[in-house]
């Protein structure tokens, strides 16, 4: 009998140990440090001291309320847009893709093959002041002669929507693909119109995909600062921009740490409210 046979109950823990240890030291412990730092006071020159300084949180909420609200707003709109844009396509691939399904899915994730920053810069080119999008909109009088898209909230939301779209489209596809076509046929046999069959059968059955896609899009979108930085102006800055500059430029660590926690809490609350609204229990199950 080998060692493993005699100690079978130990095997899973031996398998887990290295990875779990790594995640504990470099994910859980750092969150603890971040929490600790968020309650400190002082500055970089004279050092920080732990003083249960809850004021960091109140000041962050008071001074950067606009950026917090804007982050949730932009992320919310972008998530909704991504859902509306990609649902029909996910449906099309799932039900009409045939043997081309995998190839079409490859096209869906194609943007991910281009470096994130580079594809955002490409949007900067597309939306630039002399670009064809602005020119077309100007000739259609949607935009005034001096109107522009860069440095507006439209540009930032456009960028966020595009950058996180595959996160929405893939889970939608997976849930639609799993639907048994016979259920839809049954609904139609029982005299449901196509629309009715869609609303009562297909849509509810794709709900896990909608939930997973929404979370996978909303969470990174709310914390993003690249789109706001490259496509927006200062008045489009999101909370990510503030956290980034406080940490790396202003070295105001306690304030930045507090903001990071507020962002996380806001996202958790938004996710929780959403989960209650949708009424799904498989929240963690679908996202993983």
């Amino acid at each position: 009998m080998s060692y493993f046979h005699r100690h079978r109950e130990l095997t899973p823990y031996l398998l887990l140990a290295p990875g779990v240890l790594f995640l504990t030291v470099f994910f859980v412990v750092p969150l603890g440090f971040l929490a600790y730092q968020s309650l400190e006071s002082g500055n970089i020159d004279f050092g920080y001291a732990f003083t249960w300084s809850w004021g960091n949180y109140w000041h962050a909420l008071r001074d950067y309320r606009a950026q917090f609200v804007r982050s949730l707003e932009y992320a919310g709109i972008a998530t909704l847009l991504a859902l509306l844009i990609s649902y029909p396509v996910a449906y099309w691939i799932a039900f009409r893709g045939g043997r081309w399904k995998n190839l079409l899915l490859l096209f869906i994730v194609a943007p991910f093959f281009v470096t994130y920053l580079i594809r955002t810069l490409a949007w900067e080119t597309i939306l630039s002041d002399n670009g064809f999008v602005v020119n077309t909109l100007q000739s259609l009088h949607v935009l005034g002669p001096s109107g522009r898209l860069l440095a507006t909230s439209t540009a930032v939301v456009t960028g966020i929507t595009y950058n996180f779209l595959p996160f929405m489209a893939l889970p939608l596809y997976v849930s639609l693909e799993q639907i048994d076509g016979r259920l839809i046929e049954a609904a139609e046999d029982l005299y449901a119109s196509k629309l009715h069959a869609f609303l009562r059968v297909t849509l509810p059955l794709s709900l896990p995909g909608i939930v997973a896609g929404t979370l996978l899009t909303f969470i990174p979108a709310a914390g993003d600062f690249i789109n706001a930085q490259l496509l927006g102006g200062p008045e489009n800055h999101m909370i990510g921009n503030v956290i980034q500059s406080k940490f790396l430029e202003l070295t105001d660590y306690p304030a930045a740490a507090a903001m990071s926690f507020i962002l996380m809490a806001a996202i958790l609350v938004a996710v929780f409210v959403y989960a209650r609204l949708v009424g799904t229990e498989q929240l963690t199950g679908t996202a993983v």
């Binding site: 398998l15 990875g19 470099f26 594809r119 969470i219 914390g223 940490f247 660590y253 996202a287 993983v288």
Partner: protein, 281 residues
């Protein structure tokens, strides 16, 4: 009355099929538009890698040139940033996949106490915004007075890759026939031999998929790296720095090259799958 009702009824069917036809093609037309939208920025990246910009802004089309491709490393710092990105991505994806595969094996094969906690530990990094991941690691390293550089970047990348590796391997291991392992054990193989000769070869595609995914995520990462890089510059950080003063077309060249390599790898994978599916049917 019946003479009216009959043609009206017989007309209903063609009308319905015509509507169905239009509807079906409406969806197809929409999907084509969707893919055009999805691929538009990629086309812009590729196109502007051949641009001959006047001045330092590569925003408007000025003229065609091969020079950016010929002198792809003609910008100071670009080559070293690519080398660093490749080094980090290679090591991080191997380490993260190894650690992640072990966790996935434990989760799929064994019932044990602490399973739920482990699942949450894997799920949390995936549902935490990158900026919080980056910021929390930064505070850890700052408080421990760690010198930022290669090692801090590497640790950060392994950290955010592990969960992706676990999820990828786990998804493929679930449908795995355990009788094969039992058969090996019945034939006298011990657990290590069974693992080496049966489990590992059978889960090789899953491990390869995790490896590729981790590599891709690592080489593309900006946010977490930005917080933990010190003065080292990976390729995305180079792009960020360059974007502030106007990104040179060489950035598009590298972006195009990465895109083409990733596309080739994935396309080969899809074609193999399609051929296998065809043979099976």
């Amino acid at each position: 009355m019946s003479s009216i009702a009959v043609p009206a009824r017989s007309r209903r069917n063609p009308l319905a099929t015509t509507l169905g036809f239009v509807r079906r093609h409406l969806l197809t037309a929409y999907s084509i538009l969707f893919f055009a939208y999805l691929l538009l920025p990629i086309a812009v990246v590729i196109l502007f890698s051949f641009n001959q910009p006047i001045g330092k802004f590569n925003y408007t089309w000025q003229g065609f040139t091969w020079d950016n491709w010929r002198y792809w490393d003609g910008i100071p710092g670009i080559r070293s940033s690519i080398v660093l990105s490749l080094q980090i991505a290679l090591i991080a994806s191997i380490v993260a996949t190894a650690l992640g595969t072990l966790i996935a094996l434990a989760l799929v094969r064994y019932g044990f106490r602490g399973r739920g906690t482990t699942n949450i530990l894997i799920f949390l990094p995936l549902s935490t915004p990158e900026i919080v991941l980056g910021a929390s690691l930064l505070t850890l390293f700052l408080n421990l007075n760690v010198v930022f550089g290669f090692w801090t970047i590497l640790i950060a990348h392994i950290m955010f890759c592990i969960s992706f590796a676990v999820v990828t391997v786990k998804a493929r291991l679930v449908g795995f026939d355990r009788h094969l392992e039992e058969a090996a054990m019945d034939l006298g193989a011990n657990e290590w031999t069974t693992f080496r000769k049966v489990t590992l070869p059978l889960s090789a595609p899953a491990i390869l998929a995790a490896l590729l995914l981790c590599f891709a995520i690592s080489i593309d990462d900006f946010v977490v790296t930005y917080f933990n890089s010190g003065n080292r510059v990976t390729f995305p950080l180079f792009v960020w720095g360059a974007a502030r003063i106007g990104a040179p077309p060489q950035v598009n060249v590298i972006g195009t090259a990465i895109f083409l390599i990733a596309l080739t790898v994935m396309l080969a994978n899809v074609l193999v799958q399609m051929r296998r599916a065809k043979r099976a049917s």
